[in-house]
Subunit: 178 residues, 2 copies
Amino acid sequence: MSPEAEEYVNSIAKEKKVSKGDILIRQGQRVENTFYVTSGCIRSFCVDKNGKEHTLQFAIKNWWISDFIAYYDTDIATLTVECIKDSNIIQFNAKDLDEIYLKFSEFEIFQRKILERHVVSLNKRILNQLQLTAKERYNLFTKQYPDIELYTPNYHIASYLGITQQSLSRIRAEKSKT
Amino acid sequence: MSPEAEEYVNSIAKEKKVSKGDILIRQGQRVENTFYVTSGCIRSFCVDKNGKEHTLQFAIKNWWISDFIAYYDTDIATLTVECIKDSNIIQFNAKDLDEIYLKFSEFEIFQRKILERHVVSLNKRILNQLQLTAKERYNLFTKQYPDIELYTPNYHIASYLGITQQSLSRIRAEKSKT
DNA sequence: CTAATTTATTACCATAGGGTATTTTTTTAT
DNA sequence: ATAAAAAAATACCCTATGGTAATAAATTAG
């Protein structure tokens, strides 16, 4: 990136410290920001008609998170984005980012690469969900997020894997046996 | 888009008619193309260790399809992309597209919007998989692809929904009862 | 340090969906 | 039109995962 572009990015970037439990985006509200995680962990989830939570994403270091469904459609949030471990994030306003794209076309490339990476990751997630058992998905998960279990409750992970917390507990018990 | 950009796009776009059964991308081969569907239907799927197929995407009119996992990482295909109904597609070579981005930055915006739409769609797919029952997913599917059942075998749809063909058959039977 | 609260484990039974096999229906080929 | 092949439906039983509930462990608050 050119120095000017970088300067501009810095001018709209809002570095923030957020604490466990902080809500960055609340379901039902307008989504104006996207967040880049430099440390810690942020989670996005939805709540279904029965009040059950389903985790869409865990964002750790170097990942972006928001309610992308609402963000890209400039719509009301269906997701909640919550800090689950004290984190350092960089907040970007959607409108500010839009201007960057106009002023510095080099930034488009940047963003395109991020989006491409995101598509790849989502594609893999879907394929895993289709072809792996809960146990296999859990094993993969622990590799992808090596220390997430240290600070994330069981049921958050279960809700990401698409199983109940009891099932996850059983899988873990079975695993520790051998 | 400017006339020049449009002309350039046309110069690299390869319009093609493809027939049911044609393979556009073969698992294990290098992925150099992405396809835009103007009519018909193209399917992407993977084959797991047990030889079972899992459908990642059905691309109908106005959708893009490829093995995006391999395409964006310039890697070997893990997916197969297959024509399941006589279709008209426009084929784009990855390298040609890369040049477009360099020559016409306006095209980046275009591509960014496509990617954003893709991310939204994949996010929704994951959330549906997490919170809906097989029956609910099937009902949603028939709305999203109203006439796909006319030309797609049962087991392709089942493999997209993440259930067996027998389960899908049962769901359909139950539905036609009421 | 203790009590209160949250989280995880375990047990029990229920059920959605899977696997194998058979039959029926539909499609394709001759 | 008939045979062959493919696809769909159905049946039967099985298994992974879900739901409820009770217990145990860990964390947090006072």
